[in-house]
Amino acid sequence: MTNLLLMAGVFLFSFIVGYFLISRIPTLLHTPLMSMTNAISAVTILGVLILFSVASTRTEQIIGSVAFVMAAFNLVGGFAITDRMLRLFKKKEAGGGK
């Protein structure tokens, strides 16, 4: 029961903190933001790791590996594309007006 309350607390805390942090992010960066949060949602990769920490049947192994591939795709792809996008946001120090 304490565990359950703790989980609910973590959920609420993260949602609220996330809400306040993210509502401050300028619209300029909304696409990279979405792509990064997408990558963060690939945190489910931890779920697969936990899945594989105990003996699994063949079916579970197959399902688990599919989930792992998907989560890894999301994770690496998401952070990589976000990085690529953000590298495009340049500030010209010389010449450009402030």
């Binding site: 949602s41 690939a42 931890l46 697969v48 792809g77 340049k90 500030k91």
Partner: protein, 662 residues
């Protein structure tokens, strides 16, 4: 799971969450965002390391191989994708996240019968549903965004009911699964997954291309929630925390998008069913004060011969914005459907809004006419049912009746006691003009005279419909609409004069610019203007791209200094002191109707107030309305200079002309 160092573990978990929060916090400034992204990636790597350290893995090879495959695929796609494809990429990634969530929930539920508490099981079931519907919804969204699927809303009969029934079935199954004996649960789980996938599909297919930003933001939120639910079942705080954060982010973006488009979330997801295809268009057309139409009745009155009628029809067709074609069985008898399609394609290629109004009894059995037209290769999105199209007639420039009589006979609603009184008809007589390509002007099957034929604004083209249409098509193709060249030239000169004398210029990029891949030219143009001593700013509307902030990415790709990109609220007060505004491929976001006229689909939508500037130069592909279907009154403004055509080509012409001047 045994946790001997409970407090230590908890501490480490919070450390990881802290790093993640730091990462998001760094996202608030463009120059630190890149570091923030890497910080978040680092946080997740730490989290994975932590989990591996704590629980180890029994299947290192599976983990390693899956990791390599998934990462390689993700990395490869991320390197290969172009910036304009980002929304589709995000949608597909969303889908991948959804798959991972529901598969994990599924395995945990299968295993869990013995040790899972009812609350964990409940969240597991929610994870299953949310993950599965995110998956299918994202696939549809991704397909629509990458143009692999048709972007128009696909509306099934009783769509809202299907959605409700599907949702109810999922809820019922979740409840059943909670109480079912452990042996039979697995079937319920599979059923829940299948129904949720179906739900995702029917939920997304009716959302049109214009509303995609809302849909993918929403799906972003649901992926997060799916991950959080997943975390609830395995009691992992990191999963819950990350999932909740993503959920919050997606919710905010959804709200921002809805507000920017002046849509309620509910209306995006549950469009009005009365005129399902484009309720926007009717309203839009109401606003079109079409001066051409006022003189037209005079022309039609003194009709003398077939030939002049034909000419008049061609003239009408050329001037019309919106045409509704009403095919009747007579068309099928004359085997004229192929000519009808050719004619409609011609009109469509001229940028007209063409629709087919299908009366329920237009053919010889239910849906017959649809089959006949489909055989001739019509795009079935153009086929509209009677109830859907009837409200649109009054905003239509002309209706083309081909081999139909009773179904357009106003006597059915205007006179009592005739055999057809009370029969529902297509309200062709409400359109500004009616052209009838019938064999003769005799009554139809019912034997009731058709008063429509004698109306002043009706043009009769009697004879074989097939031949009539061929003649129409020929005349329409011959006609020289090309008076554009010289006027374009002078427009360009006017634009150059305005730009070279301007002290302050604001550039408004829209999605049309991105489609024309004109961002590089636009940025070049901006730098040329700056080299002439002009102050240049970019005004970015929140829905300028296809997802939140998309336009900024596209411009960043073209190496613009992000200091020059201004948000709507920031830049709007500046327009009145601006000498010239350059619009590239944007329409709705600068449409003054949004603030000047009540009752349009965009009324109340926040816009960039470009019309406050001294000169407005519009470099759009055409002068047609945007997604909303509302005519842009800015285009008719005397201070507006229209430079129609490909935006990249226009930008190049401007660049060349400015260079020549210096």
């Amino acid at each position: 799971m045994i946790e001997p160092y409970f407090s230590m573990n908890l501490f480490l978990d919070f450390c990881v969450i802290g790093i993640l929060i730091l990462g998001i916090w760094l996202f608030r400034w463009p120059n630190t965002a890149k570091f923030g992204n890497l910080t978040a990636a680092f946080a997740l790597t730490c989290a994975a390391g932590l989990v591996l350290y704590r629980s180890g893995t029994l299947y290192p090879y599976i983990v390693l191989i899956s990791l390599v495959i998934g990462s390689a695929a993700g990395y490869w796609v991320a390197k290969k994708i172009t910036m304009i494809q980002i929304p589709a990429m995000v949608a597909f990634q969303n889908g991948a996240g959804g798959v991972a969530s529901f598969l994990i929930s599924f395995v945990e539920l299968m295993r869990g019968a013995q040790h899972l508490g009812p609350v964990n099981e409940f969240f597991g079931l929610l994870g299953l549903t949310t993950g599965a519907l995110t998956f299918s919804g994202s696939m549809i969204a991704g397909g629509k965004l990458s143009n692999k699927l048709d972007q128009t809303p696909r509306i099934l009969p009783n769509h809202t009911w299907l959605v409700i029934i599907n949702l109810a079935a999922i809820i019922a199954l979740i409840i059943a699964a909670l109480f079912a004996p452990s042996g039979s649960q697995i079937f319920l789980y599979i059923l829940i997954v299948l129904l949720s996938i179906l739900f995702g599909i029917i939920f997304s297919i009716r959302i049109g291309g214009a509303d995609m930003p809302v849909l993918i933001s929403f799906l972003n939120a649901t992926t997060g929630l799916a991950a959080a639910f997943c975390g609830m079942i395995i009691e992992n705080k990191l999963l819950i925390s990350c999932g909740a954060t993503v959920g919050a982010s997606g919710s905010i973006l959804t709200y921002v998008m809805c507000r920017a488009m002046n849509r309620s979330l509910f209306r995006v997801f549950v469009p009005l069913e009365t005129s399902p295809q484009e309720p926007a268009v009717n309203n839009g057309q109401t606003l079109t004060a079409d001066p051409v139409e006022k003189e037209a009745p005079d022309q039609t009155r003194d009709q003398s011969s077939e030939q002049t009628n034909l000419q008049k029809t061609v003239e009408l067709a050329r001037k019309a914005d919106k045409i509704i074609i009403i095919p009747g069985y007579g068309m099928a008898v004359a085997q004229a459907q192929f000519e009808v399609i050719d004619f409609s394609n011609k009109l469509l290629s001229m940028g007209k809004d063409v629709k087919f109004a299908i009366h329920p009894v237009a053919g010889r059995m239910p849906g017959h006419m649809n089959v006949l037209l489909a055989e001739a290769g019509v795009d079935y999105d153009l086929l509209e049912e009677m109830d859907a199209i009837n409200p649109e007639f009054k905003d239509t420039n002309f209706s083309l009746v081909i081999g139909a009589c009773d179904v357009v006979n106003p006597a059915a609603i205007e006179t009592d006691g005739s055999p057809i009184s009370g029969m529902p008809i297509l309200l062709a007589h409400e359109s500004k003009h009616v052209v009838c390509c019938n064999l003769d002007n005799k009554p139809g099957y019912s034997g009731v005279e058709n008063p429509l034929y004698k109306n002043d604004n009706t043009i009769m083209l009697l004879g074989n419909a097939k031949e009539t249409l061929q003649q129409l098509l020929e005349n329409l193709s011959d006609a020289p609409p090309a008076i554009e060249e010289p006027s374009e030239k002078s427009h360009l000169d006017a634009a150059i004069t305005a730009l070279s004398s301007a002290k302050k210029v604001i550039i408004i990029p829209g999605y049309g610019m991105a489609l024309a891949q004109a961002q590089f030219k636009v940025v070049e143009l901006a730098s040329i203007l700056e080299s002439m001593g002009t102050q240049v700013k970019f005004a970015i509307h929140p829905v300028a791209g296809r997802m939140p902030g998309h336009m900024n990415v596209l411009l960043a790709e073209a190496e613009i200094d992000y200091d020059k990109l201004y948000e709507m609220d920031e830049i709007n007060p500046e327009f009145s002191q601006t000498d010239a505004v350059l619009i590239f491929g944007a329409c709705d976001v600068v449409n003054p109707s949004a603030i000047e006229i009540e009752g349009t689909p965009i009324s109340g939508m926040p816009i960039l107030t470009a019309h406050d500037a001294k000169k407005v130069i519009v470099c759009n592909f055409d002068a047609n309305p945007g997604y909303s279907g509302v005519e842009n009154t800015l285009y008719e403004n005397p201070k507006t200079i229209m430079l129609l055509g490909d935006a990249a080509a226009t930008a190049k012409e401007l660049i060349d002309a400015l260079k020549k001047q210096n």
